[in-house]
Amino acid sequence: MTRYVMVADLNRCVGCQTCTASCKHTNATPPGVQWRKVLDVEMGEYPNVERLFMPVGCQHCSDPPCMEVCPSTATGQRKDGIVTIDYDLCIGCSYCAVACPYQARYKVEEARFAYSDGPTENEALRFDERRIGVAQKCTFCSDRVDAGLERGLTPGIDPDATPACANACIANALTFGDLEDRESNVSKLLTENTWFRMHEHLGTDPGFYYLWEEK
């Protein structure tokens, strides 16, 4: 069995948004749509204020509420835990978007590009008409993972089999890997550090772990 998860080290993340940029480049998401983004979090009251940066996006839950509510079966889950959307089945009702407690889903009604005078070369190359009018979200770069696996590569270790955001992170704060493999990079990180998951009480069993040493 395989369960791909993402580990985000909040003590390392510097909030540079390189993961956000690499995701936008890789997936050519339109303005306003960020499958991966980093929140700038301030906590406490002056003068006792803390600040941290928190990468968010689809948490690829084991028990995804989006999949439960989806009336068309467009939202599915692979055996490796990655939550998927079949753009050809989705009716764009957005029920999944209101069911997701992580604000990870978007719907775009018309083609939009970064600049008003048409798509950039990259946007034109990667534009997918099937994404118009339907739900969309982070895919954990499943196409890269699958292509890498076909070449015998290891997701999370070999860049060609690893999500673009984790590849791009300048602080090595994002780590992707197989949680079922006790010797994997993510297993070691979670074994050796303190961590939490967001909104666990909602019973989603998210596949996104945050390393954090509370001060």
Binding site: V69, C93, V98, A99, K107, V134, L190, T194
Partner: protein, 286 residues
């Protein structure tokens, strides 16, 4: 509730479902309930065909609202693909069942079919409550007390429409006013339970404000006015118009609440730091 470092942040109002989604809950709730209560009132006979037609049209109008909101309207029938877990799929199937049963009843004259259709209408109403409860991203919707509240609100709307129509026809009977009093009281109880659960939660200030304005509308316009007016209609046989006023106030308050619930009281979950820091592999306990 005092905010801590683990409190939710980044909550904003969902802008995905708008007044059209509210239209489904308003029209669908009123239509399904009208079907149920008019059949109950006519039992063991069959309700006036015009009432049944109005009920079906209202249910259809609600679904049409949703149809205008979806991104790929020509794939609308894909909504039927997931009855295993999706309450939206189940709602669509029940709507189809209602139409089929009423059509069969009208064609054959068998009253039993319309009786079954009225039970299906109650199921439709229940589906609407469960649709909201399953939306785990919206705290005001996923609260379990939303289900009895949506059902009670729908029942009040349907009965109110029936009372209005029969009053205009000069055929109102005291039992209808008594039933309205009962249902309005039930809705008020469901509302108070829902509101107390929400007040005990960490809902954002903006949601709290919207629910407060709903509170005044539901208890004032939607409960006090109907109770007094319906009681007057019961006590004074010539005061049928008071009964109509009771029905109108009860229905409008319910519709107002649903509109606010979908379009203004629907802040998303937001983000939060987890307050359970752990060390060790997540599967270590296996």
């Amino acid at each position: 509730m005092k905010p801590t470092k683990f409190s939710r942040f980044g909550t904003s109002h969902q802008a995905i479902w708008d007044w059209r989604a509210a239209g489904n809950f308003i029209c669908g709730g009123a239509g399904s309930s009208l079907l149920a209560v008019s059949t109950f009132a006519a039992f063991p006979g069959v309700a006036d065909g015009r009432l049944l037609l109005l009920a079906v049209l209202l249910i259809g109008a609600g679904l049409a609202f949703v149809w205008t909101e979806i991104g790929r309207p020509w794939r609308a029938f894909n909504v039927l693909f997931h009855p295993q877990t999706s309450w939206m799929t189940r709602e669509a199937y029940v709507a189809a069942l209602i139409v089929a049963l009423l059509a069969a009843g009208a064609a054959t004259g068998v009253a039993f079919l319309s009786h079954i259709a009225s039970l299906a209408a109650l199921l439709f109403l229940y589906c609407q409550g469960r649709i909201l409860k399953a939306a785990r991203g919206i705290p005001t919707w996923r609260e379990p007390a939303i289900v009895p509240l949506i059902v009670a609100t729908g029942l009040v709307e349907g009965l109110s429409l029936l009372v209005l129509i029969v009053t205009m026809q000069g055929a109102a009977v005291p039992a209808m006013f008594a039933a309205l009093i009962l249902l309005v009281a039930l809705r008020a109880a469901a509302w108070l339970r829902y509101r107390s659960r929400m007040n005990a939660s960490d809902m954002p200030l903006s949601t709290r404000r919207v629910l407060q304005s709903s509170h005044l509308a539901v208890l004032g316009v939607g409960t006090a006015v109907p109770l007094v007016a319906a009681a007057l209609a019961l006590a004074v046989p010539m005061a049928a118009l008071a009964g109509a006023l009771a029905a109108l106030a009860a229905a409008v308050a319910g519709w107002h609440f649903k509109l606010l619930l979908i379009t203004r009281a629907a802040q998303v979950q937001g983000y939060a730091l987890g307050n359970k820091l752990r060390r060790g592999h997540p599967f270590a306990a296996r």
